[in-house]
């Protein structure tokens, strides 16, 4: 069933792919419902829940009070009772209020209660960036959830995967933390109209190359693809891998790529310490340990909270130039003075983003 139809003539934005995935599952299964702050207002979570209220009514699409902790418990209870809730947070930062219920109940109920209950829950949230989102509206906190047995974590980087993993997450019988990125919302990809599943736990090679493997997570996959293009100017051939699901992680696909390239650069949309990049690096080191020395480097947020001023935000994030430079240095350690053409530096979809939100 996986990737049944990767080819489609229709180009769809990430935000619409998310919506379509939810809509098709809601049409198929009356137990699926969407709730969370502001899912039913006219802005419809930047458009990702648009039209769902009109089609499915207020019993299946409803806003909530500002009570994330309790609402997460409600979602877990409803899931245990046989419903399939999709709980939406407009920022991942707000999931910190959902932590107790998710970690202490949602993640463990199936195990702790000896398999008597299950929690088929999807928790959607968006990572913000730019226009002064700052310390509390831009955090990529996926690794906190990756740490917890019983939770699955998926972070699609494009519209095709957004729809396919959304459908997979809704059908999954476990709590799935669904990580979106604000700046991906208007990026387009070919997306089939029919329902399809992108299997959780399977990654994908997005660009083939020989010299270095670059793993990009969420929005950083897009930055890595641009870096890959920039690197072609310097005759460095990078293979770009999208893990898509962060837990369970498809380490085989990553390691197969490394078998070929011998080098690994991981770029996360989060801090590196104890992060998804640390997990990937550790698993790769264990896999190749004693057999082959693999140079590994990680990039992510600067080791600080996110500043609001663009002057500092610019140096907080990895970008195609810093990624390309790092990859170049790994491939050609003897020549680390290479600097890419700055014209190629900015991703057009990023420079288009304008606030306030």
């Amino acid at each position: 069933m996986q990737n049944k139809s990767t080819h489609s003539d229709r180009s769809l934005a990430y935000v619409d792919a998310l919506r379509e995935g939810m809509e098709q599952e809601m049409a198929d299964d009356p137990q699926v419902f969407v709730f969370g702050l502001d899912v039913d207002d006219h802005k419809a979570i930047q458009g990702s829940t648009k039209g769902l209220l009109e089609r499915f009514g207020p019993e299946r699409v409803f806003g909530t009070p500002l009570s994330e902790d309790a609402m997460t418990g409600v979602a877990i209870g409803a899931a245990m009772a046989g419903m399939r809730p999709i709980h939406v947070h407009i920022r991942m930062d707000f999931m910190m209020l959902a932590m107790n219920q998710l970690v202490n109940i949602g993640a463990k109920a199936h195990y702790m209660y000896g398999g008597q209950v299950k929690v088929p829950l999807v928790v959607r949230s968006m990572i913000g960036k730019s226009w002064g989102q700052g310390a509390q509206h831009s955090q990529g906190l996926h690794s906190l959830f990756m740490h917890i047995p019983g939770l699955k974590v998926v972070a699609p980087s494009n519209a095709y995967d957004a729809k396919g993993t959304m459908i997979a997450a809704i059908r999954d019988n476990n709590p799935v933390i669904f990580v979106e990125h604000r700046l991906l919302y208007y990026t387009e990809a070919p997306v089939p109209e029919e329902s399809y599943v992108v299997e959780l736990g399977k990654g994908r090679v997005c660009r083939e190359g020989d010299d270095i493997t670059i793993v990009g997570i969420s929005n950083m996959l897009m930055e890595a693809l641009r870096a890959q293009e920039i690197l072609q100017d310097a005759k460095v051939s990078a293979e770009v891998v999208d893990p898509i699901t962060l837990h369970p992680m498809d380490i085989d696909t990553i390691c197969e790529s490394i078998e070929k390239t011998g080098r690994l650069l991981i770029v996360d949309n989060a801090w590196t310490r104890c992060g998804a990049s640390a997990e990937i690096a550790a698993q790769v080191a264990e896999r190749f340990g004693g057999q082959r020395a693999i140079p590994i480097k990680r990039m992510g947020f600067a080791d600080t909270p996110c500043p609001t001023t663009p002057a500092l935000e610019d140096v907080f994030y990895a970008n195609p130039v810093t990624i390309a430079k790092a990859a170049h240095t790994m491939v050609h350690p003897e020549d680390d003075g290479w600097t890419p053409n700055p014209e190629k530096a900015t991703l057009s979809y990023q420079s288009q983003f304008k606030g306030p939100f």
């Binding site: 006219h42 500002l66 009570s67 002064g132 500092l312 606030g355 939100f357």
Partner: protein, 321 residues
Amino acid sequence: MITKTVPSATDTVRLYRTLRYIRRVEEEIARIYPSDKIKSPVHLSIGQEAIAVGACDPLMSEDFVSASYRGHAAYLAKGGDLKKMMAELYGKKDGCAGGKAGSMHLIDMPNNVLGMSAVVGTTIPVAAGFALSLKRKAEGNVIVAFMGDGATEEGCFGETLNFSSLHKLPILFVCENNDYAIHTPSSKRWATDRLCERVATYGMPAVRIEDGDVLAIREAATRHIDNMRNGGGPAFLECATYRWREHVGPGEDYESGYRDRNELAAWIEKDQVPRLGGMLSTDEREAIDAEIESTITEAIAFAENSHFPDTNQLMAHVYAE
């Protein structure tokens, strides 16, 4: 008994000046915003100023305020530095947090304005922590903790009320009830609107003030704060109000359909800025207005002329020395 009494003739002047000052600062922010010089989400208090002004009026400089991301009004009403605020909105190094805060996390510790937070409700217990320390110091100082109506739905709101009442903390909770959390009216979020009754069960006085009347707010705040300065414990004010602009950003949003412009019309009639202005002579009012304009012009020039922080500031302040 520690009280703050000011002759009432100057009350009007002072209240008008602060109301008008905040209104004009935010109108200027809205005017500048389309130039993209302010790359920060701004949550304007235009129309809601009377609450910050009335509740902060009885405060002494040693008292504190805490507020949400919609905090320009509280910051300015408590005497926060306008130049540093404007520079912060511009992301400049002379901003109150050197460009790390933006509009949503304003702070001015020299003037006892606590740092604001963009995560709804988070500052409520933090304010109670300050109140705990004020109680220990026993110098009769208090804190005013502002919050929106939506913030009262978070668990930490009720938890903090209970703790504050249990410990008789010198904290005045002020709910700026503009009836909306983003686009959702309280009728879709609250099973009942009896907020003050809910709060009163924690064992503190809880009063609702209907019309955004700055004098009534000031009077109630003064009464409770005086009591608190003498060990009376916390109190709660629910102040009905109305947000004139969109939830975030400089514009209006009446065309989007979630609320009716008629709601605004009713509140424009109750606007406290012209009301207080009307109590002054034209000469008096014009003098105040002119002074405000020059203060604001100076602050904008300060922000424009300040530089962006050096990139080495990225790593500063992750840990305290």
